[in-house]
Subunit: 105 residues, 2 copies
């Protein structure tokens, strides 16, 4: 599907990519977490993006679910997941190695 392809392309263009909504404070928190680690994430605010609805639909397909909650985090072009997943990796100590391998830090 062309739109899924487009999202995968966006997700691979930068070391850390966050699909987000500007009104969501949990998305802000994840962005802040990465910045505090010295990362410069690329953030797509889907509520402000011209093709935000298409991206949401494509993300739902990438996630294999009926909807696409935010945030959705990609590192090194690979899907990491939502806030819970990112925090779990951070606590488990697997987030920093992932970021290093992607050249994000």
């Amino acid at each position: 599907d062309e739109t899924v392809e487009a999202v995968r392309r966006l997700a691979s263009q930068n070391a850390v990519v966050i699909f987000s909504k500007s009104t969501c404070s949990m998305c802000h928190a994840i962005d802040r977490l990465f910045r505090n680690m010295g990362v410069n994430p690329t953030v797509y605010e889907l509520d402000q993006h011209p093709t935000g609805k298409d991206i949401e639909r494509a993300l739902a397909r990438v996630l294999g679910s009926s909807n696409s909650p935010v945030p959705v985090v990609f590192i090194g072009g690979k899907l990491v997941g939502d806030t819970d997943r990112v925090m779990a990796c951070h606590i488990a100590g697997t987030l920093v190695p992932l970021l290093k391998a992607a050249g994000a830090i």
Copy 2:
């Protein structure tokens, strides 16, 4: 103002009142926090409420701000505040006395 009056009335009708949005996981977390404490909060999901937009405007005026982020928590009819404020009270140990005084636990 009639709408501010209406919101204040809603806020006083139950011991714990949360103005929320159904899509917001931070609002869910605050609701869960209260339920885990044995509280039964009254939750108004503004994105699903027939007069949600009016309530948002009235809350902004009650808060004295230009917008009304969610969640907004009232205990015993009194404004407590947002997630940060509720968590600060919880950590400081002032949340439980507030809830007891309001008959919420």
